[in-house]
C-alpha cells in the first residue's frame, strides 16, 4: 500500500513546495497592498525563460543562477514602480486591471522573443539527477524542494518578526495610512515586498523547471493559478497559511491523479474510473468548500470593521 502511494506523495510534496514559493509572493503583496498581483505567475515564467537564455549565452551555472535571481527580483521591483505605484490612490479595481495588463504584456513579450517555441530548461547538475527513495525513482529536485522551501520560509518569518524592515512591513499591513503618519516610508516597504516575492518566485522557477523542463509563454499560468488558490486556501495575507495551503493542494492534486490506481491496488474498485481527469476540478472545488466553511481561509485573520 505504502509502495503504491509513496511516488504520488513524493511528487505532491515537491509540487506543493514549488507552489508555496510562488504563493508567498501573492500573499505578501496582498497583505501589504490588498492587491492580487496577477502578474506574479508570469514573473515566475519569465525567470524560467531568463535562465534558458542566460545559460544559452554561455554563462556557467554559478553565475547564471544568481543573475537570474537578481534579475527576477529587479523585474518585480520595476513592475511595481511602473504599473502599480502611479495608481496608489486610484480605486483598487484599476490597479488590479493594471496587474492583468502586466501579465499579458509579459506573456506576449516572451511569445515574441521565443516565437512560441518551447524552450528546454538547462540541466543543473545534482538537482536534475535521478535518485531512488523507497523504490520510487525521481529527480533530486523533488527531495530538495520541500527542504529548501521550509528553510526559506523560516528565514522569511525571522526577517518579518525580527528586523526593522520586517516590523515596518507588519505595520503597513496592519494600517496603511497610520504607518505612513508614523514616518514609515511605505514606498520602500512595498518595493521590498515585491523584491522578496519575486526572488522567491525565481527560486521556485529554478526548482519547478528543473523538474518540468519545458518553458513556454503560458508556463506560468497554471502554477500561478494554483499558487493563488493555495494562498486563498491558507488565508490570504498569512505566510504560514500560504505554505500549508500549497502543500495540501500539491499533495491532493497528485493523489487524485493516482487515485484510480491506489483504489484498484487496495481492491476497492475493479476498474479505472477516470478520476485523474478531475484533478484540477478537485483543486478548485476544494477551494470553494473551504471558502464556504471558512471565508477567510485556514489561517486568515478575522475581518474587523473599523468605524
Amino acid at each position: 500500500m505504502f509502495q503504491t502511494i509513496f511516488p504520488y506523495l513524493l511528487t505532491g510534496i515537491s509540487v506543493g513546495g514549488q507552489y508555496a514559493l510562488i504563493a508567498i509572493g501573492y500573499t505578501m503583496v496582498y497583505g501589504i497592498l490588498r492587491l492580487i498581483n496577477f502578474a506574479h505567475g508570469d514573473v515566475f515564467m519569465v525567470a524560467g525563460i531568463l535562465m534558458v537564455y542566460i545559460v544559452a549565452s554561455g554563462a556557467p551555472l554559478y553565475v547564471s543562477i544568481p543573475v537570474v535571481l537578481i534579475l527576477t527580483a529587479l523585474i518585480g521591483f520595476v513592475i511595481e514602480r511602473v504599473a502599480y505605484k502611479p495608481l496608489r490612490s486610484a480605486p483598487r479595481m484599476s490597479i488590479m486591471i493594471s496587474a492583468i495588463g502586466v501579465s499579458y504584456t509579459l506573456q506576449n513579450l516572451v511569445l515574441y522573443i521565443t516565437g512560441g517555441l518551447n524552450q528546454f530548461y538547462p540541466k543543473i547538475p545534482f538537482i536534475s539527477d535521478s535518485v531512488t527513495i523507497f523504490g520510487a525513482t525521481t529527480k533530486m529536485v523533488t527531495v530538495i524542494t520541500p527542504i529548501l522551501t521550509i528553510v526559506l520560509v523560516v528565514a522569511l518569518v525571522l526577517l518579518i518578526n525580527h528586523t526593522k524592515i520586517g516590523m515596518a512591513m507588519r505595520a503597513v499591513s496592519k494600517d496603511f495610512e497610520t504607518s505612513q503618519l508614523m514616518g514609515i516610508k511605505i514606498n520602500n516597504v512595498i518595493s521590498v515586498t515585491f523584491v522578496i516575492g519575486s526572488f522567491l518566485a525565481g527560486v521556485g522557477s529554478i526548482l519547478y523547471f528543473s523538474n518540468y523542463t519545458t518553458v513556454i509563454q503560458t508556463s506560468g499560468a497554471m502554477p500561478g493559478l494554483k499558487a493563488f488558490v493555495a494562498a486563498v486556501f491558507g488565508g490570504i495575507g498569512s505566510i504560514p497559511g500560504a505554505v500549508v495551503g500549497a502543500f495540501i493542494i500539491g499533495i491532493c492534486e497528485s493523489i487524485i491523479k493516482g487515485l484510480d490506481v491506489i483504489l484498484m491496488k487496495a481492491g476497492l474498485t475493479k476498474q479505472m474510473l477516470g478520476l485523474a481527469t478531475f484533478s484540477d476540478a478537485f483543486t478548485f472545488a476544494l477551494l470553494i468548500v473551504i471558502l464556504i466553511a471558512k471565508p477567510t481561509g485556514l489561517f486568515g485573520e478575522k475581518i474587523t470593521d473599523k468605524v
Binding site: P7, T11, L111, L117, T137, T214, P223, M272, T277
Partner: protein, 385 residues
Amino acid sequence: MKKIVSLLIAAVMLLAMVGTAAADNVIKIGIYEPASGDSGAGGKQETLGVQYANKVQPTIEIGGETYTIQLVNADNGSSADKGPSAAAELVSAGVSVVLGSYGSGVSIAGSPKFAEAGIPAIGISCTNPQVTAGNNHYFRICFLDPFQGTVLANYAFNTLGVQTAYCLAELGNDYDVGLVYYFKQEFERLGGFVIDETFPTNTADFTSYLDNAAALGAGVFFAPVSIAYSTQIIDQAAGKGVDFALMGGDTWDSNKVIESAQGSNLNILVSTFYQEGGNAEFDAGFKAWLNEDAEAMTNNGGNDMIAAVSAMGYDAYFTALEAIKLAGSADSKAIMEALWNVDFTGVSGKITFNEIGDANRDTAFIKQADTANGVWAFVCEQSVN
C-alpha cells in the same frame, strides 16, 4: 495637425490602391497554421515546407500568362477559439486556396469560415476524420486517425508483443482523444488490455501518469499529445527510468522530441508521414535552404533535421499548384472542382483524393528515436493487416 494627418491617411490609401492595382498577376495561397501555442513548433515546421516549395516554384503558368504565387500567413494560435478569426483574416486577404492546419481541432474550427467564402482548404497533417467529413471544401493529403491508431495498435501488439497499453490524451483535444479512441478499439480487438486517462490543458506534471502506467504494468505508454507536452513526458520518463516503451503519433516526429530524449535510454516510437531519405533531392534542397536562411533554421528548432510535416507542407503546396493548373484559373470555385481530379506524386508518395476528400494512403512509417546519436531511425513501413 489634423490636416497633416488627413493628408497622410489619403496618401496611404492611394498607395494601397496602387498596390492592389499592380498586383494583377498574383495568386494568393493562405497558410492557416499555428505559429504560437502548444503546436507552434509543429506549425512552423509545416509552414517551412510550404515556404520552401514556394521558393522552388514561385510562379505558375495559366493560359500562357505567368502568375506569381504569394503566401499569406495567419497564426491560429493552436487554439480552436482563435482559429475562426485567423481563418477570417485569410478570407479577407482574398486567398484562392488555403493550406493547413497543423492540429485537427483548429482545422475544424476554421473550416466554416472557408466554407462560407467558398475557398477550398487542403489539410497537411490534420488526421482527425471530422476535418473532411460532411463537407466539400476540405481536402487532406495525409492519412487518418482510424488508420494511424490501427497501425500503432498493430505494431504495439504484434511487433512489440505488448499485452497492456496505457493511453494518455489531453482533455478536449480532438486529435489526442480521437487517436486514443482508435488505438484502443484496435488494441482491444487484437486481444490486449487498454487503460486510458486524460489530463487537463496546461499540465506540466506527468509523473503521476507515468506512475499509474508503471503500477498497472503497461508495456507501452501511448500519448499522442502536442510537442510541448511530449517533451515534458519524455524528460520525466527519463528521470524516472521507466521500462515501458513510449509511443506517439505524427506530432512526436519532431527534432524537439529527439532533443529531449537525447542521452536517455528510453524506447520512443512514432508513426509518421515521411522518412528522411525518402526523396534525396528534396532532402538536400531543403537542408541547403535551412542552412542559408537563419530565420528558417530557428523555426525548424535550430538544426537541419527534416520533420515529416515539412515534407507534407511541400507536397501540399504542389498539390494546390496542380489543382490551379487543372482549373486553369485562380478562382476558388474552379480550384475546388479541380482538386477532386488531382493525381500527383509528391515526395511523400502518390496523392489522389477519394470521395470524402481524403488522400488514398495505405502505409505509415514507424520511426524509433536513436537516443545516442540524436536522430530518428527508420524501423519499418507498417500497413494494416
